[in-house]
Amino acid sequence: MWGFELELKKSLRTKKFWLILVLILLIYAMAFREVRDNLEGATNPQEVLVTSVVGYIAVSAFLFIGLYALMAGATAVNSDLEDGTVRVSLSKPLGRVSYLLGKFLGQALSIVVAMAFATLLSFAITKYYGLSLTASLVGDLVLSNLLILLAMLQLLALGLLISTLIRSSNTALGLALVMFFVTGLVMPQVVDGFAEDKAKEEFGIEDWKDFDKLSQGEKMAYRERLDELYREYHLRYLFYAPQVLMLDVFTDIDRTTFNDDGTYTVEYIGVKRAIADNPAQTALMAGLVPVYLGLTLFRFRRMDLR
């Protein structure tokens, strides 16, 4: 597919790509020191390690790779219009569909490169701190990365749609940044607030004094119900925010129990089970990619490239 290699080269040369890698490196260096400290109080350190590594990759994808994917997509077509390269490319014997898919695949591969970097980095730091890598950690990381890739591809496809709707790459970039922070950070706070109000209403809690009056069993039931409501509300109101749905799936990969002696136990459930327990989230992450790509193609095929 023509343009795929060119787009990959172009993506890997952008400053934003390298900035993201440096940020991941810095965050991991700091975060993994904390992981090592946490392992000291755990009865099953290997499982804590697995969940921590998967969790950090998910969070770095949520914060940095996701941002990169949306920004790269949002400036893909409009920047080619601004510098005229789209007119050079499409004056050659190429169809518009092939051109756009080449762009999408090239950029998707740059995301895979960023994720591979984050994963290899997590392996290296784990080794550096003297912890062992097990087959289950490596296997689950591969599965986690595939899930993260779905979320990132959705952001990339959404970005591409934006780049065909807004002709100025600077405006599109600004909008992508605002969208990323509003849908990934602000909206979840608002939606979680609605879920908490609903849970309080169901349990007859008006303020925190009422919460303290609940028995241990009722408190557990309240927390479980709240967790259910978070997921339900995310699916209802944040179905377009793959980074939020992805974190919902990853929340289910372990269960932490605090012991009476001050230690805690992490029961590792696994990525495969977490995905199976959240089919709607996974389906939305995968399903919206072709929807956004279809809309982008529909728009791009009728676009005046002047």
């Binding site: 007119r87 050659k92 190429l94 005046d304």
Partner: protein, 305 residues
């Protein structure tokens, strides 16, 4: 080779093409003239399927590629394999060298490796970029970028070369070399469709000219015919200088004095012999006589006005 019929393109409330008709025949070097905003680039982009006109018909190499708002994608892609296009205002990929740029473009045409390498070497030599073949395009001047844009347009040895304002930003040496390349294309039997608002460039290299104003083709003919027609309508201007004053009151032509014993005669045809007889009849002699041909620029400005 290229035929456009009743092409209409409206941008919001601006009618960029207003029923445009034009035809570029095989082997022609066709100069497409028009003031800024006349519709030149819109026409070119439409023929390549980069812009969607609302109405009309476009034929490339005898195949209908567009009709009434719809491109035939399959035919268009096939036709584009035989076209070379140099856009106005394009920068190409800054991170590639000229050699890599041409390599990427050649891949779009599926040119085999050995042939591709040979062609790239020839083209870099032709456009004078051989010495900088390994320098990143991002470090190129405007003129060097224009040369590379021309090279990429020629990579497939196109039958139809479409150039949109190709000499903008070139220095005089670059312009001369560009014109030479266009002449070479003509000698090789290629067809060139070349838009410009700089008339001197068109006049020197084109054999046929089309003038577009407000989305309509106002004129399409050979440069010689255009000038002849213009002279027929606007009149011939003849400047003469005599050895002594001449009384023009009985002359049939419009005469205005320019200097002492120097006059401008305007007539509907070439009246140089009659002027000679008229001056001689008054016992005077003509020292110099010049018929002033209108430049294409003059014709163009009159038309646009």
């Amino acid at each position: 080779m290229l035929r456009v019929e009743n092409l209409v393109k409206v941008y919001k409330d601006v009618r960029a093409l207003d029923g445009l008709n034009l035809e570029v025949k095989p082997g022609q070097v066709y100069g497409f003239l028009g003031p800024n905003g006349a519709g030149k680039s819109t026409t070119i982009l439409s023929t390549l399927g980069l812009i969607f006109p609302q109405e009309g018909r476009i034929e490339l190499f005898g195949e209908e590629v567009f009709r009434d708002g719809r491109f035939d994608e399959g035919r268009l892609v096939k036709a584009k394999a035989r076209v070379g296009y140099m856009p106005e205002h394009a920068t190409l990929w800054d991170f590639l060298t000229p050699e890599q740029t041409l390599d990427v473009i050649a891949d779009a045409f599926g040119i085999p490796r050995a042939e591709k390498e040979k062609r790239i070497g020839e083209l870099l030599d032709l456009v004078g970029l051989k010495e900088v073949r390994n320098r990143k395009v991002g470090k190129f001047s405007k003129g060097m970028r224009q040369r590379l844009l021309l090279a990429q347009a020629l990579i497939n040895d196109p039958e139809l070369l479409i150039l949109d304002e190709p000499m903008t930003g070139l220095d005089p040496k670059g312009i001369a070399e560009f014109k030479e390349i266009i002449r070479e294309q003509r000698k090789a039997g290629k067809t060139v469709f070349f838009s410009s608002h700089i008339l001197a460039h068109v006049e020197e290299v084109c054999d046929t000219v089309g003038v577009i104003v407000k989305g309509k083709l106002r004129l399409e003919d050979s440069i010689e015919n255009i000038k002849r027609e213009f002279l027929r309508k606007a009149g011939y201007t003849i400047i003469i200088e005599t050895n002594k004053p001449v009384d023009w009151s009985s002359a049939e032509w419009s005469v205005s004095p320019l200097d002492s014993n120097k006059y401008r005669v305007v007539a509907s045809r070439d009246v140089r012999e009659e002027i000679h007889d008229f001056v001689a009849g008054q016992g005077a002699k003509i020292l110099t006589m010049q018929i002033r041909e209108p430049s294409l620029e003059e014709i163009f400005l009159r038309m646009v006005d």
